[in-house]
Each structure stands twice: as structure tokens, then as C-alpha cells.
């Protein structure tokens, strides 16, 4: 069963790394640099999890999250060490991103889907 992952970050290089790291037959990765596009896509094709950067052009990750359906798990990714997990987020993931943590999250989702 395929897991659908969204990644929102204004750094194109990080988006590409995310795609390169996690895209596979069982993991569908979509990366966005524009929050508006990402939000629209969430509603048209909801993901299993969404990783959102905190500092985004003209907005912040927590504001974006407020506009998303609450049932979709959300992780805040930030290079800003002072940012703590706002309400609605599962956790905060610090940059540089510990890929193992994301792999664990994805594995957890896969397990959840299998058991469902």
C-alpha cells in the first residue's frame, strides 16, 4: 500500500533532495515551494503526512497548517532552533533534517496502513 507524502519548502534544492531520498514504488512524494499550490493539492489529493517548512515566502508553516484539514498529520521542519511545536503539529524536525526520523515516520504510516 502506497504512502503519500507532501513536502513544502521554499528551497528547491531541499525539495529535490526530499524527492530523491524518499520517492519509491511504495512512497509517493510531492514537493512544493509555493504554499498556495501545496494547500490546493492537499485538498484535491490529501496526503498521508505533510512536512511543512516554518519560514515560507509571505507566510509561516503554522499559518499554512491552520488552513489544512486537521486529520492529516503535520510535521514542522525548521532551521530556526527557537521555534517550538505549534498546535496542530505532530512534532518539530530541525534542519539539517535527520532523514532517519522521516524514514521512521514513513514506516510508521506504512505499518498503520497495513494494519488498517
Amino acid at each position: 500500500m502506497q504512502v503519500k507524502i507532501f513536502f513544502l519548502d521554499d528551497e528547491p534544492d531541499l525539495c529535490e533532495i526530499f524527492l530523491d531520498e524518499f520517492s519509491s514504488e511504495v512512497i509517493q512524494v510531492s514537493a512544493f515551494t509555493d504554499p498556495k499550490v501545496a494547500i490546493a493539492e492537499v485538498f484535491s489529493c490529501p496526503p498521508d503526512v505533510i512536512f511543512i517548512d516554518y519560514r515560507l515566502p509571505n507566510t509561516t508553516g503554522d499559518l499554512v497548517a491552520n488552513n489544512l484539514p486537521p486529520h492529516i498529520p503535520k510535521y514542522l521542519v525548521t532551521g530556526d532552533s527557537l521555534v517550538s511545536a505549534p498546535k496542530g503539529f505532530e512534532a518539530v524536525l530541525a534542519k539539517p533534517i535527520d532523514m532517519e526520523k522521516i524514514w521512521n515516520i514513513i514506516k510508521g504510516l506504512q505499518m498503520k496502513k497495513k494494519s488498517a
Partner: protein
């Protein structure tokens, strides 16, 4: 003869000499029983004479004997009388025979010169040897004149000095009579008397001296009268005649030849009011015998108006006035001077007084009544009138000082306080001079008083002010000093010793050049000159105190102006700002840390992003080991991320510069802006504020680049903060060269800064940011840095948007290499 015998003690010398000359020699010798034998032979009739008489007058012998006896009896009587006369006169008699110099001296003569009978020889030398050396010549000449020829008469009277036994000179009145002459006319017998006139001579001398004094006094009086313009007058009421002295004529500008003084004529010259007064006074004097002393105005015969003083004393006979006498004094000049003095004294508020210590009477002039606020009618004219005015605080001292002046211990020169009726307490300065009689007793005291209340109050205020100033100066944290317009120290506070190790005595009166070492003086001289020219000078400098303590001081030189409006020296206040400087350094550091902390979150984000790229790309390198295109893409991503990080770190290094290095170099303003752009963009990117850079000049400024970058970051960062929550967010950084200065303007999309805030913008700790977001030191520190660079910072008041402008001095082309 009989008449002579009756006079006895009143016998004059002339009488005595007449008697002697009439006597037969033998009888005289017999009477002068002390006369020694040798003289007898001359005093006895010769044998031949007796024989002739006996031979010629034998028949008459009995008769002769009888007559002789009668004659001798008569002679005895005469001689007895003579002795009485001589005893009464106390005069000495001598009888001299010039031919052989034999001289007989009477007992009185011998005793007059202090000898006993029998001590002297019967020689003329006993007399001549006693003559005063100065008198010998003329006395002999005088005697010779009458003894050598009868033409000059037989008598002589003269006075000369004559030595007694004790060696003292007596004054002698010598009366000489030639009683016998020889055929040649020369004196063969001379008799005389000696009278001791020493006492009379002394009296005469004294009298002569007195007469001389009187003569001189009269001369002085006459000349004084002329000088003092004092004349005299006398009105004989019986003869109805008026007499004037010469000076009285002179005062009237006339002479006895021109003017015949009468009472009516004299009165006509007086001015009407004066005429009335003098007429009344004269009437009283002539009828009642009352004298007067008047000060009047009159005309001279030449029509000149003069002031005169005229007095009158009345001589009464049987209680009726018979004569008026008085003085007539021209006091025109005196009156003018008195008027002038009065005018001056009144103007100066000087009161004059006269105190008589004998009867304790006190005289005050008009100014004194004003000074003491007492009505003339209430003034008793007694010493106590003054004493009563004294305040209890002043009384004892003032009275004691008056007493000291009276006793001659010190001059009367004091200040005392008095109670007045309407003007409260006043301070009065009193000075006086004591006049004494020949025994040194005070007879009168003249003095003057002035009201010195204002001066006294000012003096007290000055003293209080001076004490306050000294208290303040001495308790200032640093030394305070004052120099005059020549740069000489005229005041130093106590702290000077602590700082410079010199006492006020070592400093006062000296100049900076004398006190400072030549090196220090050369550094200080420009500032001293500026301050002496009237410019306020502030500068900071390190200083090592006399005790070796290292300080950082701020020196403030505050010039002051003299009464002529010219700089009159300056006051120097030295502030120890060591602690302030240390605190400032800490604050600057803390402020930097705060700014750094504020930015660190954003910076971390910016660094962590490229780090995430590096980390992510690196972890994919193995995965794409066989995919060269992907591999290359990842390597490029890594390189770009590293570049981004190094730029940020480079900016941070500059920002965190310690600032202790004050290395000044020529820098292009656009270069400095480029250096900080990355850091600025971190912030502006985060806040979505558009940064626009417009550099229209490559001009260089001479600066410490680290410090100027701090200023620029602070200014732009503030602008970003100011607009980040506005709908329109932009910051425009523009530079241009206006020919003189390099101008940098940071304009943001805000609508300007209100005036009340604009005034405080550069004050330390002033901030408009929410609590915890700003230290309030950024602009203050920036201004401090720019001041040190001789650059200015201001807010443009007329700009539609908020605009800060910095003006740097442009580096001259020659130096801008």
C-alpha cells in the same frame, strides 16, 4: 645830703656814687674798716698838707679843730647813712686808682661774687680777670673812653658778664664815675658800683622771647586773617563811629580812601533777607547787649555777591552797651565747598557727626537723621541717642570699639547694626577721628556714617555663595579649578591635590605652562587657547593621578565673560568617567550580543537550510554514484550551500568585531554596503521586506569599517523592524556624493517619526520597540561611532517617508589612493 640819708633802702646807685665822690678819702677809709692798710696811706692827708694848714691857720686852730670835729661828726652820720643805703641796695662798691691799679672792694662786692673778705687782693685785676671773654674788649674800650679824657663825661653805665667764685657768669650792671682827674685830664680816681642783674637779665631774655612770639603770632594772625579772609570791625556806640580793619575793607573790595563805613551804608549792601537778619541782630546788640553770629549774603562795593560770617560781642559799661566788636569773614569759597561737599555727601548717603566725650553731647547733620530714620525733633543730642539705636547683637561690640578709639588703642572703623522706625534693621559703617588736648585726653571726635546694608547683605550672600560653591566644588567627584584671562589659576578645589599631588598654594597664581610637563602642555595648549577665547571645550583623555591611579576623564572647560563682555578666564571641571567608560563598553558589548541574539534565530535558519541541503545532498551521493548527472547536481547543490553559509559567517564575523581595534582605513561606502547585504537580506527575507540598494557613488570615507558596518546594519535592521508589520514593506538604501560629503540615506515605507520621538531618538535606552525587543542603545551607540568619525546622523523632517541621513566627510582625492 640830708635828703639822701632819709631814703635809706630806697637809695639809688647814683645817690651812692654822689655820696662817695663827696666824701674825704680818709673818712671813707676809716668807715670801710675792712680795707687793708696799704690803702690807708692814700686815704690819709699828707703831712705837708697838714703842716701847711697848721702854719697858715694857727690862729684859727681851735676853731678849725672844732669845725673839724663837727665835720667829722657830720661825715660819720653821712657814712652811716651810706652804709644803710649800701646794705639796702646789696650792691658792691669799688674804688680804683688807675695810676697804680690799686682798687678797694667793698664787703658787698666781695660777697656778691661768692668770696670771703680777705680772699681778694686790692688790685684791678681781681675785677678785670673775671670779665667774660666776649665782653673784655668793649668794656675796656668803654671805660677808657671816660677815663682818658673829660670830653666824654665822667660817668658810664654798662652791663656785662662777670665770673663768680663758682665759675658761673653773673650779669653785672656797672656804674662808673670818675671822681678825680690829673692835669692831663686823665682819671686819677674812679669809683663805681656793681649790681647783680643776672635775674633781671634772665627775665629780660624771657620777656624778649615772649615779645618775639607775640610779634610772630600777630604776624601770623594778620596773614591768617588775610588768608582766611577774616576782617574785624568795631562800633563805638558813644562816638557813633564804625571802624573796619584792612581785611574788612578788602572783603568789601574797597579802601579807607574810597569808602567811609557807617552802619547804614554797611547795611545797604546786604541782600534783603540778610539785611533783615542783621538789622534785627544789631538792634538787639545795641539795646539789650546780645551778641550774634550770622551767616549772610551781601554785595561788595563792586557789586559782587559774597557769603559772609559776621559775629558781634558787646562791651557793657554799667550794664549798657558801649561798644560792639566782631569779625567779618568772607566765606564765599567755604560756602561753595560746603555746598559741594554736602551735595556729594548727600549723594553718597554719608552722614557726619561730632561727639564731645566730655559732656557726652552728640551733633548730627541732616543726613544722619535720614540714615538713622530719626526726626531731628526727636533727637536728644546726647550720646545715648546713638546707643539706643544699636541692636542687641551690635551694641557691646560698637560701644567697645568706640571706647578703644577714645583710649587711643585703635581707629574707630566699624560696622554696626541699628533698629530703625520704618526701615527695619540697617547696617551702618562708622568711622571717626578723636581729637585730643596736649595731655592726650580726648576733647572731641568727628566721624561719618554710611548705610552699608545692601553691601553687607551682598557680602553675606557672597560669603554664603562662596561657601556653597566651595562645598560643591570640594565634593565634586573630580577637581574643579578656575583660571583668569591670563590663564593663571585663581581657584582649585580640594580634589586637585588628590589628582595632581599639588596643594592650592603650589598652584594658585601659576599658569598651565608652569604646572604641566612640556609634553602634556603641548597637548593641552590648543584647548586652553580655545577656552580662553571664550569657546566651551569638552574632551576626554586618559589620565594617571598623582597616586598612580589610571583614569579616563572628561575635561570640561567652561569660559565666562568679564564685566567688559570679554572672555575672562574659564572654569575647568574634570569628571572621572572611568566607570562610565567601562559600563559603556559593557553595554556596547551587550547591545551587540542582543542584536546578535535577535538575528541569530534568522541566521540559524539561514545556515540550517544550506546545511540541510549539504546534508541531504551528501547522503544521496552514494545513491547517485552511477548517475553522473544527478551526482553533479548534488555536488553543485552542496557547493552553493557552502558558499551561502560562508557568506553569512563572513558577515557575522564583521558584526561581532570587538571594536577595540580602531584601525581607520579608506573604504568605499558601496563596498561596505555590499559586505553587510547578506546579513541584511537574511532579516529582510525573513520579514518579507524588500531591500533596494541605490549606490550612486564610489566615493570613499576614512573609517573603521567594522564600526561603520555595525551602524549600517543597525540602521537598516531598525528600518526593517519598523515596516515589517506594515502593509507596504520596503527599505531603500541610497548613497550619493554632494561634492562635500558622502551621503547615505536609509528610507523605509514608514510615514516618518513624530517630532517628540525624533528629539529622543539618539538618547541611550530610548526605544519604540516592545519590551524585550530592543535595548534602546542601537542609535545611541551609532551616533557615538559617527561622532568619532566626525560624521553626522539626522532624521529628515520633510521626507514623506521615514528617512535617516548620514553624512560622512569625503576623503580628499589626494588621500583616496
Amino acid at each position: 645830703m640830708s635828703t639822701n640819708s632819709n631814703k635809706k633802702s630806697e637809695a639809688t646807685m647814683d645817690d651812692v656814687l654822689a655820696l662817695i665822690s663827696d666824701l674825704k678819702v680818709g673818712s671813707f677809709s676809716k668807715q670801710l674798716n675792712q680795707t687793708p692798710d696799704p690803702k690807708l696811706k692814700d686815704l690819709v692827708y699828707s703831712r705837708n698838707d697838714v703842716t701847711k694848714i697848721l702854719a697858715a691857720q694857727t690862729a684859727q686852730a681851735e676853731i678849725d679843730i672844732t669845725e673839724r670835729k663837727n665835720a667829722e661828726k657830720e661825715k660819720e652820720t653821712i657814712l652811716k647813712r651810706l652804709n644803710y643805703a649800701l646794705d639796702a641796695s646789696g650792691d658792691g662798691i669799688w674804688d680804683w686808682t688807675p695810676a697804680d691799679g690799686q682798687t678797694v672792694y667793698s664787703k658787698a662786692w666781695i660777697e656778691m661774687i661768692g668770696h670771703e673778705v680777705g680772699e681778694l687782693a686790692c688790685l684791678a685785676s681781681e675785677w678785670s680777670d673775671r670779665l667774660h671773654p666776649d665782653d673784655i674788649e668793649w668794656v675796656f674800650a668803654a671805660i677808657n673812653k671816660v677815663t682818658q679824657t673829660p670830653q666824654n663825661g665822667d660817668t658810664l653805665s654798662h652791663e656785662y658778664r662777670f665770673k663768680n667764685k663758682a665759675g658761673d657768669y653773673l650779669w653785672i650792671l656797672n656804674k662808673v664815675k670818675v671822681v678825680e682827674r690829673n692835669e692831663k685830664g686823665e682819671a686819677s680816681r674812679v669809683v663805681g658800683t656793681h649790681t647783680d642783674i643776672t635775674e633781671r637779665k634772665a627775665s629780660e631774655k624771657l620777656l624778649s622771647e615772649i615779645e618775639e612770639r607775640v610779634r610772630r603770632s600777630n604776624q601770623l594772625l594778620e596773614s591768617s586773617q588775610a588768608i582766611a579772609r577774616v576782617g574785624g570791625w568795631e562800633l563805638d556806640l558813644t562816638a557813633e563811629k564804625l571802624y573796619w580793619t584792612a581785611e574788612t575793607y578788602r572783603i568789601h573790595e574797597t579802601s579807607p580812601e574810597e569808602f567811609n563805613p557807617t552802619v547804614d551804608a554797611g547795611l545797604d549792601y546786604f541782600l534783603p533777607e540778610s539785611k533783615r537778619q542783621i538789622s534785627e541782630a544789631l538792634e538787639l546788640a545795641m539795646t539789650k547787649g546780645v551778641g550774634y553770629d550770622l551767616y549772610l549774603e551781601t554785595y561788595t562795593t563792586k557789586g559782587r555777591k559774597i557769603n559772609v560770617r559776621t559775629t558781634c560781642a558787646v562791651t557793657l559799661v554799667d550794664e549798657k552797651p558801649t561798644k560792639l566788636t566782631g569779625i567779618f569773614q568772607d566765606i564765599t569759597e567755604l560756602t561753595r565747598l560746603q555746598d559741594e561737599n554736602r551735595f556729594i555727601l548727600d549723594g553718597l548717603g554719608i552722614g557726619l557727626w561730632k561727639f564731645n566725650p566730655v559732656d557726652q553731647s552728640l551733633f548730627w547733620d541732616q543726613s544722619m537723621y535720614q540714615l538713622f530714620d530719626i526726626k531731628e525733633s526727636d533727637f536728644s543730642g546726647h550720646y545715648q541717642a546713638w546707643e539706643r539705636t544699636l541692636t542687641p547683637e551690635s551694641k557691646a561690640k560698637a560701644i567697645e570699639e568706640l571706647g578703644q578709639a577714645m583710649r587711643g588703642e585703635k581707629e574707630f572703623d566699624t560696622v554696626f547694626e541699628i533698629n530703625t522706625n520704618t526701615r527695619g534693621n540697617r547696617f551702618i559703617s562708622g568711622r571717626g577721628k578723636v581729637i585730643r588736648d596736649k595731655n592726650g585726653n580726648p576733647t572731641i571726635m568727628y566721624g561719618m556714617n554710611t548705610d552699608v546694608t545692601m553691601a553687607r547683605i551682598q557680602e553675606l550672600q557672597v560669603i554664603a555663595l562662596k561657601n556653597q560653591l566651595e562645598l560643591i566644588s570640594d565634593n565634586m567627584p573630580g577637581p574643579v579649578s578656575q583660571v583668569d584671562r591670563h590663564g593663571r589659576y585663581i581657584y582649585v578645589s580640594k580634589m586637585y591635590f588628590e589628582y595632581f599631588g599639588k596643594t592650592p598654594e603650589q598652584i594658585l597664581g601659576k599658569t598651565h605652562r608652569e604646572l604641566l610637563s612640556s609634553n602634556v602642555f603641548l597637548q593641552a595648549e590648543p584647548n586652553i587657547k580655545r577656552a580662553l577665547s571664550g569657546e566651551r571645550v569638552h574632551h576626554e583623555m586618559p589620565l594617571v593621578t598623582a597616586g598612580g591611579k589610571k583614569l579616563f576623564v572628561q575635561i570640561n572647560m567652561i569660559p565666562f565673560l568679564g564685566q567688559d563682555g570679554k572672555p575672562d578666564g574659564f572654569i575647568t571641571v574634570v569628571h572621572d568617567i572611568t566607570a562610565l567608560k567601562e559600563a559603556e563598553a559593557k553595554l556596547i558589548h551587550r547591545s551587540k550580543l542582543a542584536s546578535l541574539g535577535e538575528m541569530s534565530a534568522g541566521i540559524a535558519h539561514e545556515i540550517n537550510n544550506p546545511l540541510a541541503i549539504i546534508d541531504g545532498s551528501a547522503s544521496l551521493l552514494l545513491k547517485f554514484a552511477n548517475d553522473p548527472e544527478k551526482l553533479n547536481s548534488k555536488v553543485q547543490s552542496i557547493r552553493m550551500a557552502v558558499t551561502r553559509i560562508s557568506k553569512i559567517v563572513s558577515g557575522l564575523k564583521k558584526f561581532s568585531g570587538s571594536g577595540e581595534k580602531t584601525v581607520y582605513t579608506n573604504q568605499s561606502i558601496s563596498g561596505l554596503l555590499n559586505d553587510i547585504l547578506t546579513l541584511i537580506e537574511v532579516k529582510s527575507g525573513r520579514e518579507n521586506v524588500a531591500i533596494k540598494l541605490e549606490t550612486k557613488t564610489n566615493a570613499q570615507i576614512f573609517c573603521n569599517s567594522i564600526e561603520i558596518e555595525q551602524v549600517l546594519i543597525n540602521l537598516i535592521s531598525n528600518a526593517i523592524d519598523a515596516v515589517k508589520s506594515l502593509p507596504e514593506k520596503w527599505v531603500n538604501v541610497a548613497t550619493h556624493d554632494d561634492g562635500k560629503s558622502v551621503v547615505l540615506r536609509v528610507t523605509d515605507s514608514g510615514t516618518g517619526i513624530p517630532k517628540n520621538i525624533r528629539e529622543k531618538l539618539f538618547d541611550p535606552f530610548f526605544t519604540t520597540k516592545p519590551t524585550g525587543e530592543g535595548t534602546g542603545l542601537g542609535l545611541s551607540i551609532s551616533k557615538g561611532i559617527l561622532d568619532e568619525h566626525k560624521a553626522s546622523i539626522s532624521v529628515l523632517a520633510n521626507s514623506p517617508n521615514t528617512c535617516f541621513e548620514i553624512r560622512f566627510n569625503k576623503v580628499e582625492v589626494a588621500n583616496a589612493s
